[in-house]
């Protein structure tokens, strides 16, 4: 989903009718994009065969830890 002031405005409305000023929305687009960029950097890694930080533990009957 593209990150634009309009998209953020729509999400805020769904949050219960919240609002931000145009200037806050413009800042927010950059901030949200920087968060998403950090995540996209993970595409550089081959994570297919790695275990997760959350693993199902057999001795707990499969309880996630």
């Amino acid at each position: 989903m593209p990150i634009s002031p309009e998209t953020l405005k729509r999400i805020l409305t769904e949050f219960g009718g919240l609002t931000m000023t145009d200037s806050q929305l413009a800042d927010a687009v950059g901030a949200v994009q920087s968060w998403v960029d950090e995540l996209n950097r993970l595409d550089e890694l081959d994570l297919d065969g790695e275990y997760s930080g959350i693993v199902m533990r057999a001795d707990d009957g499969g309880y996630a830890q």
């Binding site: 989903m1 990150i3 953020l8 999400i11 805020l12 949050f15 219960g16 009718g17 919240l18 931000m20 806050q24 800042d27 927010a28 950059g30 901030a31 949200v32 920087s34 968060w35 998403v36 950090e38 995540l39 950097r41 993970l42 550089e44 890694l45 994570l47 790695e50 275990y51 997760s52 930080g53 959350i54 693993v55």
Partner: protein, 474 residues
Amino acid sequence: MSSSNSLLHMSITEIAPMIQTKKVSPVEITQSAIIQAEKLSYLNTFITPMFDYAMDQAKKREKAIGNGEYFGPLDGIPIGIKDNIEVAGVRSTAGTKALNENIASVDAHVVTKLKQAGAIILGKENLHELAAGGRSNNPHYGFVKNPWDIEKIPGGSSGGSGANVAACITFASLGTDIGGSVRFPAHCCGVVGMKQTFGRASQRGLMLTSYDGDHISPITRTVADSAVVLQSYVGHDIHDPTTVKLPLPDFSKDIGTDLEGIKIGVPLNHYFDVIDDEVEVKVRQSISALEELGATVVDIKLPYTEYAGALWVLMASEMSVTAQKLLKNHGHGVSPDLLVGLLATQFILARDYIKAHKLQRLIKEGFAEAFSKVDAIATPTAPLPAINIDADVVNIKGVEYSLRLTRDEIMGRATHLSNRTGLPSISVPCGFSDGMPVGLQLIGRPFAESTLYKIADAYESSASSSRILAELAK
């Protein structure tokens, strides 16, 4: 009888024997602490002071101690509680206007334990709104000010807690640390902040958080005090599945012992990559001091830490769920700073969330490998000292970093990995940069808090900058 101010300047381990032997009374100390709090009320450290309650409790403890009922080193000691930790019958706002009239019905588990230890709660402390930032510039309850310079931030999110301890208003305060929120204020205010291993302490009664990586943790003026406070409230809680059933060691047992045989790792990557020159000098000098005290210092590398910024997704995703109802019902009382983080979570795909967890595993394994060679890892607590309250950007080595509507990644850069790995970490004052305190962070093996206390105490005992008080605390 000692003068009121000199009593407040003491550590818990110094004043507790005086209370036990009735040379000092809980009423006397509590009165002094309240006078100090009122004198320094412009620091905005409390959201809800509990001074009448504190005096009632102090009188009860004085009478009980007089009758031979002494509960231990926290008995009769004034402390503070961050306002996102519930205290029964008291307003608990988590720093947001949306919860301005929220009264907690039960005590957080840790608060119950502290009351049982005889501690006197002075009040609920100011914080960064919903504990979701490092500046404590709370738009609803006032900006918290740093006792070392009231134009500077006290750090956050436990800013009121750090400032109270540094200003000698409380002897200890309980903060919460989800990305550095106890250690960063400790760094900014020149006090000691310990984040214990994840699983050591109950989170029951901690409001609106991510249970994956948050910790209720102590801020104190000395390392020995930190061990005493932590000892009083940790342990397995049958109602909190994140706590572990492990025997509880005596956290103070190795304090005062020498550092022969201790190996300390210094990371070649991540922690010193972005850092103010003067802060780096202070931290490296403190590492040299540890070597002079008998420790062996070796270089280490921590793989995958260059991707650490992606781990924000783990905390933010869970917070987006815990805060969902609050936003729906009271969202208009939440500041734009906070909304940005919650907006960002709306762009996280399930596959990104899983990838972040896989990265978390790789980083944990990197630390485990390092801890097969060293007992502790020494780093800065933060890349820069406390910044101006109104700063929009910071400049580190000629590079500008924006502070507007961000997740405060610069200030939490050296601390947040310990939350995502669960490793215990302590910040201890190691000097001054531009007149403001800075901290040395020591990271330890899981459940090895005693080792961290041993190393941090050895450093504290040898450092000339230890136990220096801010001028307005005197």
